[in-house]
C-alpha cells in the first residue's frame, strides 16, 4: 500500500505503508544510529515523536529481547528499507509485525537522507503519514502547523511503585519514561532499585530513605513538567546523592534556576563526543534529546558544567556545587549505543558510599 509523508513545509514523500495504516501527525526527528533500531523504538523518550532512521537498512536482525520498555513509543516509524528476512539467533519476529501488533504506522521506501537534510536545514518539524492518496495539502498543512505534543511524561511513566531486589545500595529511580537499562545498570552493581512514577512527591521518596536518587530520561519539553520540577527542588535540598540522565538532568537544572531551549534538530544517535571538563577526556555517547540546558546564566555557586558536546559546544552535564549531585544530558546506560560512559554508574555508587 502506498503511503505519504507530508511535512509542515509542504514537502511530500511517497513510499510504502509499514505497520499500521492509520493516519498520524507527529513531530519528525531523525536518529543516526546504525544498529539498535529496536532500542530506539522502545525508548519512551520518543513518545510524541515520529522517528526517521538515517541508516537505510532497518530490521536486519528482527525483533530480539533487547527492548528498553514493554512497547514501542514513537508515534510513527520512517525508514528507507525494512529487511524482508531478518537474521539473528535471537530473532523472534519482524519489525513489520511488531509495528502492526502495536498499531504504529510508518512509511518505508523514501529517501531518508533527503528528509534528514530538510530537518537539518529547517529544524525539527511536524509531519503526517497517511495512506490516503487523495490528501489535500491546503487542509493538512494548517493542521500540521497547529499540532503540539504535550504531557508526554504522563504517558511514558509507570503507574505504580515497583521494587527490584538487590543487596547493595538502595536507589530511588524516578521514572519519567525510563529505559530499562538504567535500572539494570544499577542492579548489575548490586543496587536495590525502587521505581517511582514521575508524579510521586519528594516526601514520599525521601520517606523511604534511599541511599541515592536516580532521575531518568524521558520525553518532551522539560518546561512542561512544572510539578515535577518543584518536587526535584526538594530532592536537591535533601542532600541525598542524585544522579540524573537526559530529561532528569534538564529538570534538575530547571529546578535550580537554569533555563532550557529547544534545539534546531537535537542530538539523536550513538556517535556524539562529550568531553569531561575535569579530565579533558572525550567519550563517545549515546544521545536522544531535542532540548538542552542553557548554562550562561547558571550560578556557579549552584552548579558548573561538567561535560560539553565537542561538536557544538552545548551542555552535556552539570556538577552541583557543594552537593552530591551530578547530571548528564547523554545516556551512560547506552542501549543503543556506546557503553563508554557506563563508569558514571560506578561514580554514583561511590557517591552513595558504595565500594563499586
Amino acid at each position: 500500500m502506498k503511503a505519504f509523508l507530508i511535512l509542515e513545509d509542504g514537502t511530500v514523500f511517497e513510499g510504502n505503508s509499514i505497520g499500521s495504516a492509520r493516519e498520524v501527525i507527529s513531530e519528525i526527528v531523525f536518529n543516526t544510529s546504525m544498529t539498535g533500531y529496536l532500542e530506539v523504538l522502545t525508548d519512551p523518550s520518543y513518545a510524541g515523536q515520529a522517528v526517521v532512521m538515517t541508516y537505510p537498512l532497518i530490521g536486519n536482525y528482527g525483533i530480539t529481547p533487547d527492548m528498553e520498555s514493554e512497547r514501542p513509543w514513537p508515534d510513527a516509524y520512517i525508514v528507507r528499507e525494512l529487511s524482508r528476512m531478518p537474521s539473528n539467533f535471537r530473532c523472534e519476529g519482524t519489525i513489520q509485525d511488531f509495528l502492526v501488533k502495536h498499531d504504529i504506522p510508518g512509511i518505508a521506501g523514501i529517501d531518508t537522507r533527503a528528509l534528514t537534510k530538510i530537518l537539518r536545514e529547517k529544524g525539527t518539524m511536524n509531519g503526517m503519514i497517511t495512506t490516503n492518496e487523495n490528501y489535500l495539502l491546503e487542509e493538512i498543512l494548517p493542521r500540521l502547523r497547529a499540532y503540539r505534543t504535550g504531557n508526554v511524561v504522563e504517558k511514558a511513566t509507570c503507574n505504580s511503585v515497583c521494587r527490584l531486589p538487590g543487596k547493595g545500595k538502595r536507589v530511588a529511580l524516578m521514572d519519567f519514561g525510563a529505559k530499562r537499562n538504567i535500572a539494570k545498570s544499577l542492579q548489575d552493581r548490586g543496587c536495590e532499585v525502587t521505581i517511582y512514577p514521575a508524579y510521586t512527591c519528594a516526601e514520599e521518596i525521601l520517606a523511604d530513605k534511599p541511599d541515592g536518587i536516580m532521575l531518568s530520561n524521558g520525553p518532551g519539553d522539560p518546561k512542561e513538567c512544572k510539578g515535577i520540577i518543584a518536587e526535584l527542588k526538594k530532592l536537591y535540598e535533601s542532600d541525598t546523592p542524585i544522579f540524573a540522565i537526559c530529561l532528569g538532568h534538564q529538570l534538575m537544572a530547571l529546578a535550580n534556576g537554569a533555563d532550557s531551549h529547544k534545539m534546531k534538530y537535537g542530538h539523536r544517535g550513538g556517535n556524539h563526543p562529550v568531553k569531561d571538563l575535569d579530565t579533558g577526556r572525550v567519550y563517545i555517547s549515546s544521545q536522544n534529546h531535542g532540548y538542552v540546558v542553557d548554562t550562561e546564566h547558571l550560578d556557579p555557586a549552584v552548579a558548573v558544567p561538567a561535560f560539553v558536546n565537542v561538536n557544538d559546544g552545548t551542555n552535556e552535564g552539570l556538577r552541583y556545587t557543594g552537593k552530591k549531585i551530578f547530571t548528564v544530558q547523554f545516556h551512560p546506560e547506552a542501549c543503543p549505543g556506546p557503553q563508554d560512559s557506563s563508569y558514571l554508574f560506578d561514580k554514583f555508587i561511590a557517591m552513595m558510599g558504595g565500594n563499586q
Partner: protein, 1069 residues
C-alpha cells in the same frame, strides 16, 4: 594536548614493493600522512624502495630515499638526515617490523631518535603471539585456545590436545603468508614447516579452528590522552576461514544487533587502550553465529588495508588523523576535514551500505589453485557504495573488470544439483555466483547456509537479485519493474540481456520514465551536519545532491580501477598527478574510480570524487550531470582507454591524443601503414583469428613466433610458440575469452629490449631517458629488470631510438604521453609495441630523471608546448647515476602458479636500486626485492641446452663467490666438462637424496632453472620451481637475471657502505 614541539623532522618508513597482502593502501596511507605532517610544518624524510608510489614524490616529502628497506639502509639514512623521530606505522607490516628492529637493537636510543605513532612495547604486545595472548588474558578478552610453537613436534603435540582442524598463523608475516587450516597431521606438518620458515622469528601460532564463525573487524583510533573512537566496523560475508583480504566485506556490519555491535566495540576499545596504541588499529573478531561467544583473532597496531577501506567507506581520514596523533594532538583538537565543523573525536555514521570485493589473479595464473584460505591471494580490490546491499554488490561486481557484470556471469547451469552442492563446498572467488545458481535451482537457504556458513541475511539478498533476474526474464518490462531493477543496480546491458531487448531501448525507457541515477554525498555523519567535501556515490530512486554547475572549465579524469597484475599503482600515480596538474591550471577536476586502496580516491585529491564503477553506463550518469569540457583517458591504464569510444558517443571530447590515433597504434593494419609511412622496421607478422590462420602465418615467418591478443594490458595471453602444437594450445587459451579483436602473430626476435616514455606536444618530443632491459626479448617488460640510462647500446642506436620515437609520435599525432618498446639487434632497431598513453615506467623514469612527465603531458594536453614550458626537446641529458627497476613477484602466495618468466606479465610490483655505478644500483635493486645473499652459499642449476654455454661463465662466477653448485644430470655433466666443480644430484623421480630433498632441506640460497623452450611441459621443472618458491628459495628462470645477480653479489662482496641518493634533489634539466 597540542603538538609536541620537539618533533621537527620525521622519518616515515614506506612499505616497499607491491606484493599480495601489501598493496597500494600503504601508498595512500603514507601519502596522506606525509601531507598531514607537512601541514604541521614538520620536515619529512621518506624512505621506500617502491618508485611507483606517490609518497616518494618530492611534493610529498622533503627528502626522498628510494632505497632498499632494511635496517642497515635505515640506519644510514638516520645518520645522514638526523631526524628526531621515526614513524613506522604507515608502512604496513614491513615498516612496522623495521621500526621494531631499529628500536630493539638500541640504535634509535643511541642516536636519540624516538619511535612515534607507536612504541616497540606496543608492537611487541600486538605482534608477538605469546605476548598478545597474555595481554588479552589479562584484560579478559577471549582468544581461541592456542599455543605458539617453534617446531613441528610441539605443533603436533598441542593439536592433539585441542583436536583438528587447527589454524596456523606464522608470526610477523604479511597477508597471512604461510598460514592455513590443517585438517589432519599431514596437512599440519606441511603448513607448519612452511610457516616456521616464513616467520621472521620462526614461530607459528597453532589455534583452535573457528572457521564458520562470523568475521567482524573494527577500526579504532586512540590518542595519547586515552580518547578512543571506532571509525567503522565491517562484516565479512565469508565467515572465518577466508582471509579478510580475500573476503567480500560489507560496512557497516549488517547482521549484528546493537548488543553484539557494542560488545565487540567495547572490546576493541579495551584492547587499543591496554596496548597503549596512539594512532589507528585494526581488531579482527570471530563471533559465534548463534551465541555471544567471540574470540579476538588479530590486532594490527598500524594502518592497514582494512583501515584504507574504512577510510574510504566512511570518509574518515585515518592515516591523516594517525599522523596528527603521532605529533601529540588529541582527537578533539583535530578537525574533521569532511564536515569542517566537527572534530576527529566522533564516530562516523553511514547512511549507505559499502561492499568490498577482492580482485583475484586467477585470470593471470590459470594453473593456480582458486581456493581461498587464510593466506591472502587478492592483488587488489574494488569498493562500491549504494543505499542498499544488493545494489552495492552489483556495483562492486561490475567494477572488477573481470568480464562479470551480474550474478550470471559465471555459468554453473551445467552442474547437477549434486554438482552444485559439491561446488558450494569449494571456497573460491566464484562462491557468490554458485550460491546464486543454487538459489535459482531451488536449493534452500538452510542447505546453502549449512554448507557455506554464510548468514541467511546475505543469502536472502542474493536471492532478491536472482528473483529480479527471473522477473526481468518473465514479466513485461514496466516502468515499475525497471525502477526496481535499477534500485538493485542492474546495469542496462544486463536488463537488456534478460529481457531480450536492446540496451539502447532500456536506456530510452529509463529516461522516458525519469529513472536516472542520483548522486549522494559521503559525509561521515549521515547528513547530521552540512559537509564540505564533495565525495559522491550513485543510487537510484533518490534525490540528487551533486551540483554540476561551475564557472570553471571542467575535466573528467578516469582512474584505473582495481590493482591487478599488469595494471598497478603506477596508473594511480599518473591519474593523481594529472589531476593536480589540471587543478594548477585552473580546471575543476573530477575523478571517477572504485579502488579504495588508492591515493586517487582520497577525498581531497580532486575537486570532486565519484566512487563508481568504470563502465560506460556508470560514467554516463556522471557525464550527464557534470557535462565536463573534456575527459582524459591516457593516464588510467587500459580501464580508462577502454572507455574512450563510449565517452565520444556521449559527446565528451577526449583531451590529448585522439581516439583514432590510439586505435591506429593498436590496430595491426593501421599501425603497419604508419610504420611503412615512417619507414620504421618491425618484426614481420600478421593478424589472425583462428589457429589455422595462426599456423599458416607462423610457418611463413618461421618459428619461434610471438602470439598475442591485441588490446590487452600486461601481455595477457602472450606466448612464444616454437611449434604448430604450441600455436594450437595458445590459441585455445586466448580464445577461451571471446575476442572482439584479432590475434597478432609476429616473428620472435631475440635482442635487447629497449623502452622509452616520451612527452609529445604534437610537434616536439621530450624523452626523459632510455631504459634497457637486462632480460632479452621474450620476457614481459613489466617483469624485466630495467636499467636507466641504457648501459650497453651504442650512441648510434640511441639516436635511432630518439628519431623513431619522434617519427612515431608525430605520425600518431600524440598529444601527451607515448610509450614505445623497441628491440635492438645488431645495431638495428625494431619497434615491438607503441602505446600512446602513460605506462608502467612513467613514475620510475620521472623520479630518476627529475622530469615531471605527467605534469608536462597534462600541460601539453591543455595546449602548452614543451618549448613554452622551457624544456629541451629530444633526449634529455643522462644522469650521473644508474637507476635499476627490479620486478617483484608474489608467487609464494599463489599455490600452483607457474613462475617462469615469459611474455605474459607476472610481477605484482617493483623496487628501485639507484647507485653511482651499475653494480651498486643492481645490488640495491636485488636488496630491495628482498634478495639477501649469501646465507648458505649453496645453489642448484638446471638449465636448458641452449643456455648451457652461458651457464658455464655464470657458474664459475658463483663458484668464485664461494658457492657450492648442485646441478641435475645433463647440466652437471656439461659444467664439469668445462671446469666447474658441479655436484650432480638426482631428479625428483629418482631416489633420495634428490633435488627436492635439497630444496626442502633449507640449505639452498638460489635455484637457476631455465625452462625448456616454449611452454614448459616438464612436471619436474615446475615442481622444482614451485617448491623453491614455497620454501623461500630465490628462483631465477632467465640466464640474464642470473648474470645480473652474479654481478650484484660480486659488488656486494667488495663494498659494504651504500651511497644514498636523495631523489627530491635530483634534477637533470
Amino acid at each position: 594536548m597540542p603538538k609536541n614541539p620537539d618533533i621537527k623532522k620525521v622519518l616515515v618508513i614506506g612499505s616497499g614493493p607491491i606484493v599480495i597482502g601489501q598493496a597500494a593502501e600503504f601508498d595512500y596511507a603514507g601519502t596522506q600522512a606525509c601531507r598531514s605532517l607537512k601541514e604541521e610544518g614538520v620536515e619529512v624524510v621518506l624512505v621506500n624502495s617502491n618508485p611507483a608510489t606517490i609518497m616518494t614524490d618530492k611534493e610529498i616529502a622533503d627528502e626522498v630515499y628510494i632505497e632498499p628497506l632494511n635496517v642497515k639502509v635505515l640506519e644510514q639514512i638516520i645518520c645522514k638526515e638526523q631526524p628526531d623521530s621515526v614513524l613506522p606505522t604507515l608502512g604496513g607490516q614491513a615498516g612496522l617490523n623495521l621500526g621494531m628492529e631499529l628500536a630493539e637493537s638500541g640504535f634509535l636510543k643511541e642516536h636519540n631518535v624516538k619511535l612515534i605513532g607507536t612504541t616497540s612495547e606496543t608492537i611487541f604486545k600486538a605482534e608477538d603471539r605469546q605476548a598478545f595472548k597474555d595481554t588479552m588474558e589479562k584484560i579478559g578478552e577471549p582468544c581461541a585456545p592456542s599455543q605458539v610453537v617453534h617446531n613441528v613436534e610441539d605443533g603436533i603435540a598441542f593439536t592433539n590436545t585441542i583436536g583438528y582442524p587447527v589454524v596456523l598463523r606464522p608470526a610477523y608475516t604479511l597477508g597471512g603468508s604461510g598460514g592455513g587450516i590443517a585438517h589432519n597431521e599431514t596437512e599440519l606438518i606441511d603448513i607448519l614447516t612452511n610457516g616456521l620458515r616464513l616467520s621472521r622469528v620462526g614461530e607459528v601460532l597453532v589455534e583452535r579452528c573457528i572457521a564458520g564463525w562470523k568475521e567482524i573487524e573494527y577500526e579504532v583510533m586512540r590518542d595519547s590522552a586515552g580518547n578512543c573512537i571506532t571509525v567503522c566496523n565491517m562484516e565479512n560475508i565469508d565467515p572465518v576461514g577466508v582471509h579478510t583480504g580475500d573476503s567480500i566485506v560489507v560496512a557497516p556490519s549488517q547482521t549484528l544487533g546493537d548488543k553484539e555491535y557494542q560488545m565487540l566495540r567495547t572490546s576493541a576499545l579495551n584492547i587499543i587502550s591496554e596496548l597503549n596504541i596512539t594512532g589507528g588499529c585494526n581488531v579482527q573478531y570471530a563471533l559465534h553465529p548463534t551465541s555471544f561467544e567471540y574470540c579476538v583473532i588479530e590486532v594490527n597496531p598500524r594502518v592497514s588495508r582494512s583501515s584504507a577501506l574504512a577510510s574510504k567507506a566512511t570518509g574518515y581520514p585515518i592515516a591523516k588523523v594517525a599522523a596528527k596523533i603521532a605529533l601529540g594532538y588529541t582527537l578533539d583538537e583535530i578537525k574533521n576535514a569532511i564536515t569542517g565543523k566537527t572534530y576527529a573525536s566522533f564516530e562516523p555514521m553511514l547512511d549507505y551500505c559499502v561492499v568490498k570485493v577482492p580482485r583475484l589473479p586467477f585470470d593471470k595464473f590459470i594453473t593456480a589453485k582458486r581456493t581461498l584460505t587464510t593466506q591472502m591471494k587478492a592483488t587488489g580490490e574494488v569498493m562500491s557504495i549504494c543505499t542498499n546491499f544488493e545494489g552495492a554488490l552489483m556495483k562492486a561486481i561490475r567494477s572488477l573488470e573481470q568480464h562479470v557484470d551480474c550474478l550470471r556471469s559465471y555459468d554453473f547451469t551445467a552442474l547437477s544439483k549434486e554438482g552444485l552442492l559439491k561446488q558450494l563446498k569449494k571456497v573460491d572467488d566464484r562462491r557468490v555466483w554458485v550460491i546464486a545458481e543454487a538459489l535459482r535451482r531451488g536449493i534452500s537457504y538452510e542447505e546453502i547456509h549449512d554448507i557455506t556458513m554464510i548468514d541467511y541475511w546475505f543469502i536472502d539478498k542474493i536471492a532478491i537479485l536472482t528473483e529480479m533476474e527471473g522477473r526481468l526474464e518473465k514479466e513485461e518490462l514496466t516502468a515499475e519493474l525497471l525502477k526496481e531493477a535499477k534500485r538493485l543496480e542492474f546495469p542496462d546491458n544486463v536488463i537488456a540481456r534478460l529481457t531480450g531487448k536492446e540496451e539502447a531501448k532500456i536506456r530510452d525507457l529509463r529516461y522516458a520514465n525519469g529513472i536516472t541515477a542520483a548522486f549522494k554525498m559521503v559525509d561521515t555523519c549521515a547528513a547530521e551536519f552540512a559537509a564540505k567535501t564533495p565525495y559522491y556515490y550513485s543510487c537510484f530512486g533518490s534525490e540528487n545532491e551533486a551540483q554540476g554547475d561551475t564557472d570553471r572549465k571542467k575535466v573528467l579524469v578516469l582512474g584505473s580501477g582495481p590493482i591487478r597484475i599488469g595494471q598497478g599503482i603506477e596508473f594511480d600515480y599518473c591519474s593523481v598527478h594529472c589531476t593536480w596538474a589540471f587543478a594548477k591550471e585552473g580546471y575543476e577536476t573530477i575523478i571517477v574510480n572504485n579502488n579504495p586502496e588508492t591515493v586517487s580516491t582520497d577525498f581531497d585529491i580532486a575537486d570532486k570524487l565519484y566512487f563508481e564503477p568504470l563502465t560506460p553506463e556508470d560514467v554516463e550518469n556522471i557525464v550527464r550531470l557534470e557535462k565536463p569540457d573534456g575527459a582524459v583517458v591516457q593516464f588510467g591504464g587500459q580501464t580508462a582507454i577502454k572507455l574512450t569510444e563510449s565517452l565520444m558517443k556521449m559527446g565528451v571530447p577526449i583531451l590529448g591524443t585522439k581516439a583514432e590515433d590510439v586505435d591506429a597504434a593498436e590496430d595491426r593494419e593501421l599501425f603497419d601503414k604508419i610504420l611503412e609511412q615512417t619507414q620504421i622496421p618491425r618484426a614481420a607478422g600478421g593478424t589472425v583469428f583462428t589457429a589455422g590462420e595462426a599456423k599458416e602465418v607462423a610457418n611463413q615467418l618461421g618459428y619461434p613466433v610471438l602470439v598475442r591478443p591485441s588490446y590487452v594490458l600486461g601481455g595477457q595471453g602472450m606466448q612464444i610458440a616454437y611449434s604448430d602444437e604450441e600455436i594450437e594450445e595458445f590459441m585455445e587459451i586466448i580464445n577461451r575469452i571471446a575476442q572482439d579483436h584479432p590475434i597478432l602473430v609476429d616473428k620472435y626476435l631475440q635482442g635487447k629490449e629497449i623502452e622509452v616514455d616520451a612527452v609529445c606536444d604534437g610537434k616536439d618530443i621530450l624523452i626523459p631517458g632510455i631504459m634497457e632491459h637486462i632480460e632479452r626479448t621474450g620476457v614481459h617488460s613489466g617483469d624485466s629488470i630495467s636499467v636507466y640510462p641504457a648501459p650497453t647500446i651504442s650512441a648510434q642506436v640511441k639516436e635511432k631510438i630518439v628519431d623513431y620515437t619522434q617519427r612515431l609520435a608525430r605520425a600518431l599525432h600524440v598529444v601527451g604521453l607515448i610509450n614505445i618498446q623497441f628491440i635492438a639487434m645488431d645495431e638495428e632497431v625494431y619497434v615491438i609495441e607503441v602505446n600512446p598513453r602513460s605506462s608502467r615506467t612513467v613514475p620510475y623514469i620521472s623520479k630518476v630523471t627529475g622530469i615531471p612527465i605527467v605534469d608536462l603531458a597534462t600541460r601539453v594536453i591543455i595546449g602548452d608546448t614543451l618549448k613554452d614550458m622551457g624544456y629541451p626537446t629530444g633526449l634529455a641529458p643522462e644522469a650521473e647515476y644508474v637507476a635499476i627497476k627490479m620486478p617483484v613477484f608474489s608467487f609464494e602466495k599463489l599455490r600452483g602458479a607457474e613462475i617462469s618468466l615469459g611474455p605474459e606479465m607476472k610481477s605484482t610490483g617493483e623496487c628501485l636500486g639507484i647507485g653511482k655505478s651499475f653494480d651498486e644500483a643492481l645490488y640495491k635493486a636485488f636488496l630491495g626485492a628482498g634478495v639477501q645473499f649469501p646465507k648458505y652459499k649453496q645453489m642448484i642449476m638446471t638449465v636448458k641446452d641452449a643456455d648451457k654455454p652461458e651457464a658455464v661463465d655464470i657458474a664459475k662466477r658463483f663458484e668464485a663467490l664461494g658457492y657450492k653448485i648442485y646441478a641435475t644430470r645433463s647440466t652437471a655433466k656439461y659444467l664439469q666438462a668445462r671446469g666447474v666443480k658441479a655436484r650432480r644430484i638426482n631428479k625428483i623421480s629418482q631416489e633420495s637424496p634428490n633435488v627436492m630433498d635439497l630444496i626442502l632441506g633449507h640449505k639452498i640460497d638460489l635455484v637457476i632453472d631455465t625452462p625448456t623452450q616454449g611452454r614448459d611441459k616438464s612436471r619436474d621443472g615446475f615442481l622444482i620451481r614451485r617448491n623453491a618458491i614455497e620454501t623461500g628459495v630465490y628462483c631465477i628462470t632467465a640466464m640474464d637475471t642470473a648474470d645480473a645477480l652474479a654481478s650484484s653479489l660480486e659488488h656486494a662482496s667488495v663494498s659494504e657502505k651504500l651511497n644514498l641518493i636523495d631523489i627530491a634533489k635530483v634534477k637533470n634539466i
